[in-house]
Amino acid sequence: MNGTPAKKKPATRQKKNTPKKSPAEQEKAPGKLTTVAKDKVPKPAEKPLQEEKAAVSTSGKEPDKPAAGGNVPRGEKVTVPRAAGEIKKPVRPEVPVKEPAAGKPAALPRRPIWRGTISIGLVNVPVRLHSMIKERGWSFRLLHRDDGQPLRYDRVCTKDDKVIPWEDTVRGYEVRKGEYVVFEKEELEAILPESDKRIRIDKFVYYLSLDPVYFDRPYVLSPDGNSDPYVLLHEALLKQEKAGVGRLTLRTKEYPVLIRPYHGALVLTTLRYAQEVSDPGKFVELEELSSAKPREVEVAEKIVSELSGDFDVNEYHDRVREQIELLVKKKLAGEKIVREAPRHEEAKELMAALQETLQQLKTT
């Protein structure tokens, strides 16, 4: 890395693309936040803004786009990766520079998260599993203010502040505060479930009989190869208004799942284990609630019925996200963002005096 400062090491994928231009970038970076976005673009920072915008959107379509980029189910992020090689470097597949408000209907990703079969007794339905959550949440990458480069998280020993390489780490299961039972990687691998490429359906239930508190994360199932069994299962469930419950092993974790028809497809939802969800009725504060007076209930019911309507999820917007997208757009267009000072309540009682004085000052 000729002349590239050591600080740049953390950049993984972009590192290869950017080093030649980095001195120029560094000159531009301080004080100008737009360079943050530029740095993610594998194109020279000096490019005119219009071209950069194009670069931003194309970078997401590059063939080396990580399959998992933006599609990693939350459940997987917290699990212990089995292959040590994968995690030696904290490779964080970059979410390609997000095009703000892209909103087009998208094809399912070519590569599914998982492939296997739904087994119902002796019947097998070959399926692919895709994430259903579009990762529309917003997040920021932590950068070094001076050079706009992403920061890496190091594993630092809390005792001697030294950076510890992966091969010198073990897993600890905290049994008491600060006390751990130690596991070697091999020990864990022995007990973690093998993904056996099967979703075993145990029974069919009315899916409304399952309370939404147990719903974790939805995935889309698509037929893999022969689509007849898939269509058949979909039809049967639709007619019976039922859902299949069973279990699925994804990577290293086993989940209870529910499969049901939804918008012309089969949708699989991972479920939470009973012990992961608390029973609100078991909280002391809630156990002791008194009962309401019938008169008051009547009034409350009236209010509820007056405000009753149909739920439309589109009525709710992620306003913070919209703000961020707007700012990103402006920054990409080179607009300088000025932070507005928080607005204070106006001293209304003094307004009249102020207005009169301003009027007088104007006329004199």
């Binding site: 607005r343 204070h344 309540e345 106006e346 001293a347 009682e349 003094l350 307004m351 005096a353 102020l354 009169e356 004085t357 301003l358 007088q360 000052l361 004199t364």
Partner: protein
């Protein structure tokens, strides 16, 4: 309820704080007063490095002279930095150039605003001559009034046009505009000389600093005409019971006015005309050296 409120881009705090406990006057009323009186006051404040007397805990609490702009002074406040020989450091004076600054000042609980006799571009060149008539008890307002009329006649005889105001306390202030160039040495000498003239007409008037503490006399303080000395700004509130105002008067008004407390925060605004309007405009438009 230490809530902050905004007015004309100024952050106001603790508006419900009572600053005059005996009269129940809150900071909100003080701020409102300074907003409403601004058109009459601002001509006097422009281009002058003011000294404030602040009473954050109200006039019953500890007040303090503030020459230096406080920490957190907004960047839109004009500051005049001047080296102080006596303290050996720079003093950052506030200059109240506009209504916004005056509102901000009022929010500092700066009840009294004192102004120098010279402007920031020429701090050694006074643009007014200041006659400070200071009755020493048991001499009171009436004795001061008598001295003021004597002085007025003497000044008129000299072809000058004197203006009088109450100090808001027991004294009276007489101002005469003066065209630059002049010096404090000259104006001081003139005031001293005038003091001697009228002290000969009335035995109760003294013109020498050595006699100033003599009970029952009225002292013509010529020493106030000096670099760095200030006088209470016309229409400034005073930190005294009843919230009296240093009030410009016409000479006819002076004949009948009962005393310095006749004009205060609650009645001054109903007096629509400003007897000093002509002088204020003259001072405001005066040349700066």
């Amino acid at each position: 309820m230490p809530k902050e409120q905004e007015l004309a881009g100024v952050l106001l705090s603790n508006l419900d704080k009572v600053l005059y406990p005996e009269d129940g006057i809150t900071k909100r009323e003080v701020v409102e007063y300074y907003i409403r009186i601004a058109p009459r006051m601002l001509p006097w404040l422009r281009d002058r490095a003011v000294v404030l007397t602040r009473y954050p805990e109200g006039i019953a609490g500890e007040g303090f002279y503030a020459k230096d702009a406080p920490q957190g002074t907004p960047n839109w406040v004009r500051i005049e930095t001047r080296y102080s020989e006596t303290t050996g450091r720079n003093v950052h004076y506030i200059v109240i150039q506009d209504l916004k600054t005056l509102i901000w000042i009022a929010n500092l609980a700066a009840i009294e605003i004192h102004m120098p006799l010279a402007r920031i571009g020429s701090p050694d060149v006074p643009d007014v001559i200041f006659f400070d008539i200071d009755p020493e008890p048991p001499a009171g307002f009436d004795a001061g009034r008598e001295a003021a009329f004597l002085l007025r006649d003497a000044l008129l005889d000299n072809g000058m046009e004197p203006y009088v105001k109450t100090s808001g306390k027991k004294g009276l202030h007489i101002l005469v505009p003066v065209e630059p160039p002049t010096t404090f040495a000259k104006t001081r000498a003139f005031v001293h000389a005038m003091g001697r003239v009228i002290s000969q007409k009335n035995a109760g008037i003294v013109s020498e600093a050595s006699e100033s503490q003599k009970a029952g006399t009225v002292f013509m303080d010529f020493l106030q005409n000096s670099h760095g000395k200030t006088l209470i700004c016309p229409y400034s509130l005073r930190a005294a019971r009843g919230a009296p105002v240093s009030t410009p008067l016409s000479w006819n008004e002076l004949k009948t006015v009962a005393g310095p407390e006749s004009f205060n925060i609650r009645n001054i605004l109903s007096r629509k005309e400003d007897p000093w309007e002509k002088l204020a405009q003259q001072i405001f438009h005066g040349k700066q050296l």
